[in-house]
Subunit: 233 residues, 2 copies
């Protein structure tokens, strides 16, 4: 049995794993776990990941979840993956890991917290929480500043001044893409001070297309549905 | 110039890195960055880590921060470190990474959020936040349940049913040790349903002593100071 990827394309880490497989020609079967329908809490999915998170993979008899762990595993386990995604060089790899760790408590906490608490919560059976959304927005703004001034410093096209993307570029840009769900003016205000971040998002998209846009179609459709619902209010 | 570790022993990821070095006979110079005195925001420390977080290391010309990235780097860069800390085997390493990623958004968010918002904030010039503390406590309780029923399942002494500790064991136990700062009754209530977690904390302590206790002395002293302050109120 080949690689199976359990994912919901509305989840940004799911999108990162799917795009990574497609860009690197890794054959896999995508199995949709619809979060809005609560399928992540089904007995069937608990057999794959008892902690009920997507994405998760099954590779033969090996099961794994947490997208960063999955991406680094895939980069090492599939021989055709170019080194720039997850460098074998110790210091370069450590820097990629440092960004991935930073991501959890900064960019992810800000972006996912904002979208969940200001928009998506009702679709998952949770209440909206304006205070938590506002707290998340603060974290997001600081994270965008740190991306612009620190992680993207230098003249490279990608994080750490690199000429080619790593799994950190893909993971962080997929995180940021969920901000498409925001009202356009709010989104523009967030990104306006961060020209480098905007360029970098384009660079990652261009380096991983056509897969990047194909996998994000699902998000764009969700945005259209959301706009339609809001215009009815 | 040898390895330099910039740390505050009141910070749990700092403790994990220091204990790891000591247990594995890695020579290093410890440079204290006193968070309560705001030394992490000094110009001097910004030269080491512009994002102002501890721990951070300097190894020759190489600078790195984020404790998980540091621990995996040290485990690979210093040849004497036994394999169990960060296994070379791909699947075993991926499982360790999965726990480290889970840690960020679960156990760390719960434990650090609870302690910061209910106790430590004033020492860092921030207000206490009972609502955030209560939210963090919920996350902590769920994380402890997941540790007990999932990560510690089986008969091994360590995470994943292993017979020897990994960097994930050390990182997570250092995180939990900060709960020593809580009132004893509150702490006992939190841990009472989780016998395996309590045994595992002892196992990690025993596997890394005398260094584990020596590095935690600083935390026990902080607890004594806190008790003294509270008894004056």
């Amino acid at each position: 049995m080949g690689l199976q990827v359990y994912a919901d394309r509305l989840s940004q880490p799911s999108r990162a794993v799917i795009i990574f497989c497609k860009v690197n020609g890794i054959e896999f079967e995508e199995i949709t776990v619809n979060l809005a329908k609560g399928q992540h809490r089904s007995q069937e999915f608990k057999e794959i990941n008892p902690l009920c998170q997507v994405p998760a993979i099954v590779d033969g008899r090996f099961k794994l979840f947490e997208s960063h762990a999955i991406l680094s595993y895939l980069a090492c386990a599939f021989p055709g993956v170019p080194d720039h995604w997850y460098p074998a060089d110790l210091s370069k790899r450590a820097k990629v890991q440092s960004i991935l760790d930073w991501h959890h408590n900064n960019l992810r906490r800000g972006a996912a917290g904002l979208i969940l608490n200001s928009l998506l919560a009702p679709a998952l059976g949770l209440p909206l929480n304006p205070e938590a959304a506002s707290e998340a927005k603060k974290i997001l703004k600081q994270s965008l500043s740190q991306l612009e001034s620190f992680w993207l410093k230098g003249n490279g096209k990608f994080l750490l001044g690199n000429l080619r993307p790593s799994i950190a570029d893909l993971s962080l840009v997929c995180e940021l893409k969920q901000l498409e769900l925001l009202d356009e003016k709010d989104r523009d205000l967030l990104f306006a001070p961060h020209k480098k971040v905007l360029e970098w998002i384009e660079n990652v998209k261009n380096a991983t297309n056509p897969h990047f846009e194909e996998v994000h179609v699902f998000l764009y459709k969700a945005k259209a549905r959301l706009n339609k619902q809001q215009s009815k209010l």
